[in-house]
Symmetry: C2
Subunit: 195 residues, 2 copies
Amino acid sequence: MSAGRPREFDQQQALEAAMRVFWTRGYEATSLEDLLAEMGLSKSSFYQAFGSKAELFQKCLEHYQDMSAQMMQSSLAGAATGWDFIRTTLEGVADGTGKKMGRAGCLLMNTATEFGQRDAAVISTVSAGLGRIQEVFKAALDRAKTEGSLTAAADTQSLALFLATNLGGLKGMARAGAAPQAIRSVIGIVLAALK
Amino acid sequence: MSAGRPREFDQQQALEAAMRVFWTRGYEATSLEDLLAEMGLSKSSFYQAFGSKAELFQKCLEHYQDMSAQMMQSSLAGAATGWDFIRTTLEGVADGTGKKMGRAGCLLMNTATEFGQRDAAVISTVSAGLGRIQEVFKAALDRAKTEGSLTAAADTQSLALFLATNLGGLKGMARAGAAPQAIRSVIGIVLAALK
DNA sequence: CCTATTTTGGACCATTCGGTCCATTACTCC
DNA sequence: GGAGTAATGGACCGAATGGTCCAAAATAGG
């Protein structure tokens, strides 16, 4: 270890705590105080380790998309079929409504909604993240195609965007307070649309 | 007219200006200063006429849903078929991307996203509004059913929620910067899913 | 014309915001 | 154990926040 007083907190853990706060409350509605309380560190440590609220937010966005993409990819890799992965991914929205972060929505879509066109850096991070999610869906759809559960003529690119739109839309509905069974009925229609 | 100095601004116009600001910037990111500038009135007039930022926001939410529901209803009434109404409503998202408020999203979904479960009053106004939109979709679907462009067995309630989810999702995508042709390709899939 | 009534402009306010600074503390390396 | 280095706690900061107050202005009715 290099010289100097040792850090008293886990940087990764603090980042994840910050991510959860931004995820549930948004950027503007989250004050520095909220952040410090939830991350469990002092102002000095905060600024020394993360630079500023805006910088931390960017790091959270990146962490979120890394986490999401990684989870989706490994879920796809472990799924019995591409179709299976798509179904369980969507159903996760309905199943999660009772859990802690289950009604938090999607941090990327939340951010796109909050910022609109206002901040170029945020916009580009968000659309990169949404693109990655879309890519995983496309991979799953292509796999479903080779597995025969999708016609060869299907436009997997557009279908992937359709799925991303509905995943985001449903997470938004969950955030707005929709009942799990209402969400499930929509998922049924979405899945049927792929056939 | 009753006694007293006459008001120098149009209350309805000011309300609509405020609505547009909240619509594009959200609640937290909109400062009183922004509001006053865009509404064109002084602080005293503002507080005298609208009470507070929070009260004004509620009025804007209500005005938005009245306006939206009314526009959708008259659009449905004037449409050749129920199916036609649904198609043009969705295509409006793609067509609007170039216009002034075309990438602002849906104020109700934006608000649901920004507030989450934080404010009970806001939540209830938002879900009432979303319910009204869903109802118009259901009416259109029921009409499409009688017109023969939808099977009699179709669950119009769930399909209405599906359409509301996609309308919100697509407006969100537009807000995130999606290209109109990408939006159009998703709309094609959504419409095909109804058949 | 005078009074009652309402709106307007702007001074004023406490609080909160994100952020800086620095003395103190706790370590490593020599 | 002393020197160098990095993290911590907390005092401090200017600016912006949403909101109040009141004197001046502009009307209607008597």
